[in-house]
């Protein structure tokens, strides 16, 4: 079949030519001077199936709400906004394909990547390769910015280290008398990392605590009977658990029924999202966090009216209470708006290209309903952390935090250029003196 061979050779030659051309284009693409587009497309990766969709779907709902809200107010820089969603659940190899499709075929202007840390770790190198600004809207892994510079990736919320350190400091400040502890974490990156950070920080600040059980049941385990029996038998003073979603609901219900909550103090950094569904089953007196500062009963939000409006609008539209991924998505949208406005202003009203948009994100400051968030020079956002102890208040059918401490982000975040575990080793007990006073009530 000579003709086929010919044409294939031609095609391959063409391929080589196009590759070279593509190279030049890639260089000039990000720098090209774009026209104001007809619409601003945002590619969003989130979990739409599987166990993590308990966060992914609220994230998507929040995005839909923000798109409508922005468009009602004239969009961003006068351009209407449109969101395109992709399911993270089928795995990395599918996700990176979808990322490319969104950037290269759909022509999205910005990407919002991922709940799963694994997805984020796969997407950030792609953001550099494709020179597409990528907002890491929910994932927490500290590895992203600690393993090398990220020219096009920005995280508009906190990360794992402050989310673990803040509850640790809170516990050491409010209940410093414990001698033994145990961990029950989901067996995946966050479960392993968060425990390593907790243990490292604890060894630096309160050496000598005996660890009586280290349990890592698999992610999505339907039952924790055996683990709870073992914790009941071991009687630790404190139990740390990074559980979330269905796993946390199951753990908390079985622990409540079998009086484990009465024997040990739990520290649950990701409790907030599961509290509404647990209702009064979740008892008072345990340390709870929300991966940030956005409790619905935030004691002093920056913009109380906006926080209330968000809560009411979300509940009215989706018939669910706001949980933290909603806030993280709202933060990502607010950051995007602020970045475009900054870039457009810097360009005297012109529409920014990819380079200029990324430049606008670096060092960006934007408002969330609860606070002002600044993105550091490495791209990491500085989000305050609020930790409190659970209580049952009148008028709320589920546990909420009281005696809240607002940890300033800079205090609990790994400094730029350091690795989290190395930094936690250097902590000195005098950091406890810097912990702000609890806001009673």
């Amino acid at each position: 079949m000579p003709p086929t061979d010919m044409s294939r050779r031609d095609l391959l030659a063409g391929a080589a030519g196009l590759t070279a051309g593509g190279l030049l284009m890639a260089g000039s693409d990000a720098d090209a001077q774009p026209q104001r587009p007809a619409e601003l497309k945002i590619g969003i990766t989130t979990f739409l199936s599987g166990p993590a969709s308990v966060f992914g779907v609220p994230g998507r709902q929040a995005a839909e709400m923000m798109v409508d809200e922005f468009n009602q107010r004239g969009g961003i820089g006068g351009v209407r906004v449109r969101a395109l969603f992709v399911d993270e659940a089928p795995g990395t190899e599918h996700l990176v394909g979808e990322f490319r499709r969104l950037v290269q075929s759909e022509g999205v202007h910005v990407m919002f990547a991922s709940i799963s840390s694994g997805s984020c770790l796969a997407c950030t190198p792609l953001s550099r390769d494709l020179q597409k600004t990528t907002v890491l809207w929910d994932c927490a892994t500290q590895r992203i910015f600690e393993e090398g510079p990220q020219p096009f990736a920005f995280r508009t919320q906190g990360f794992a280290t402050p989310e673990v350190l803040a509850p640790l400091l809170y516990l050491l400040k409010t209940k410093p008398e414990f001698r033994t502890m145990a961990v029950i974490n989901q067996d995946y990156a966050w479960g392993r990392d968060s425990w390593e950070m907790w243990r490292t920080g604890m060894e630096a600040l309160k050496p000598g605590v005996r660890i009586v059980a280290e349990l890592f049941p698999r992610l999505g385990a339907p039952d924790f009977t055996t683990e709870i029996t073992r914790l009941l038998a071991a009687r630790p003073d404190v139990i740390f658990s990074g559980h979330w979603g269905g796993d946390l609901v199951t753990l908390a219900r079985q622990a409540a029924e079998r009086r484990l909550f009465e024997r040990s103090t739990f520290v649950l950094p990701v409790a907030e999202a599961s509290l509404p569904i647990l209702g009064r089953t979740f008892p008072a007196g345990h340390v709870i966090g929300t991966r940030g500062d956005h409790w619905n009963n935030h004691p002093r939000p920056k913009d109380p009216a906006r926080l209330r409006a968000l809560n009411e609008a979300y509940r009215a539209r989706f018939n669910e209470p706001v949980i933290y991924p909603v806030h993280h998505m709202v933060q990502a949208f607010n950051a995007l708006k602020a970045a475009y406005e900054k870039a457009i202003a810097a360009k005297g009203g012109g529409w920014p290209n990819d380079m200029e948009l990324a430049a606008a994100f670096r060092g960006l400051t934007f408002d969330s309903p609860t606070a002002t968030i600044t993105l550091r020079e490495d791209g990491q956002g500085l989000e305050d952390q609020i930790v409190g102890v659970s209580t049952h208040a009148e008028g709320t059918p589920y546990a909420i935090p009281k005696d809240m401490v607002i940890f300033p982000a800079a205090m609990v975040s790994t400094p730029v250029g350091m690795k989290s575990v190395d930094w936690l080793k250097t902590l000195k007990p005098d950091i406890l003196a810097q912990v702000p006073a609890a806001i009673s009530g």
Partner: protein
């Protein structure tokens, strides 16, 4: 039919190159699809013996993780690809010695169990494998050449295409050889094979090891293309996907796996883009429709059309 197969194979290859030229994002998808097609060729060999492995994603994961572990030390595709294939082949030989004694459900479930053990270990051994976060693969060289990203992607696409054509041709020859004929005999009347003095176990073992090798090749290509490997590669649904592709494409031809793989990836992407919430349902529906109404798969449909044409012409 044989000549038709070759011709269609080359035509298909040309079509893929054209598609990759026209849409850069497709090139990536097609590379992954070709790689999966290579792995499915292995499934096809086992299917010829009537055995369904519900755990072959294990070998894909082996290939991919070999790439991930070796890439920092030896960042060259020319090393990583054979290494991934070799590790998968060795594992396949080891496991094959054990599972080739079993048939049908035991064969399928043992493969499933072993792949789930590997999946669990990839998740468990966090210090070694980074757990579910997975391992990132930096851009390797290609036969000593330090290519940039688009260049390397073309190189991987070309590699996948060449290996796919090679694997298809090899499978065709193998199935026509006495070893291939013996495979079919395992499916129909195994004992007769033994009467002829042929060890059914060895025949199956040979096919099994080849299928592991092909899985390893596929995994290495996927690892270097996606450049991020996670334990999900070894999960049982990934193995199910490979069998799915084999049936979707049709088990009657060595082109089936590639037809199936490309269709599978495209359906998944377009279903995901159209209804991000219910892409699984659409894929499931397609699979159900194919099995109920076109059990020969896509190849069966094409072959039917060709036969009718040939019939009309004569």
């Amino acid at each position: 039919m044989r000549r038709g197969e070759t011709l269609l194979g080359l035509l298909g290859a040309a079509a893929l190159v054209a598609a990759a030229l026209l849409a850069p994002w497709l090139k990536f998808i097609l590379t992954v699809a070709l790689a999966k097609g290579i792995a499915v060729i292995g499934i096809l060999l086992l299917l010829r013996a009537g055995q369904v492995s519900f755990g072959h994603a294990l070998y894909v994961a082996m290939g991919a993780y070999t790439v991930a572990f070796l890439a920092p030390a030896m960042p060259d595709a020319a090393v990583l690809l054979p290494a991934g294939a070799a590790i998968a082949t060795l594992t396949g030989l080891l496991i094959g010695l054990f599972v080739s004694r079993y048939r049908e459900i035991f064969f399928g479930m043992l493969n499933l169990a072993l792949s789930m053990v590997v999946y669990s270990l990839l998740e468990k051994l966090y210090d070694l494998t980074k757990g579910t976060d997975g391992i990132r693969v930096e851009l390797p060289r290609f036969f000593g050449m330090a290519l940039d990203r688009p260049g390397f992607e073309w190189a991987m696409f070309a590699t996948a295409l060449v290996l796919a054509l090679g694997a298809g041709a090899f499978a065709r020859l193998y199935l026509d050889s006495p070893m291939g004929q013996a495979l079919s005999a395992i499916k129909t009347r195994e004992t007769r094979l033994e009467f002829m003095g042929i060890s059914a176990r060895r025949v199956l073992l040979a096919a099994y090891v080849i299928s592991a090798l092909l899985g390893g090749v596929a995994g290495a290509i996927i690892g270097m293309t996606t450049r991020h490997v996670t334990p999900l590669l070894a999960y049982w649904t990934a193995s199910g996907e490979l069998v799915f592709i084999a049936i979707l494409g049709g088990a009657g031809s060595v082109l089936g796996p590639f037809l199936g793989a490309v269709t599978f990836e495209l359906v998944r992407i377009y279903a995901g883009a159209a209804v991000a919430d219910a892409w699984q349902m659409i894929l499931g529906g397609v699979l159900l429709a194919v099995i109920l109404f076109a059990p020969g798969g896509l190849w069966g449909m094409i072959a039917g059309l060709l036969r009718r044409r040939a019939g009309a012409a004569s």
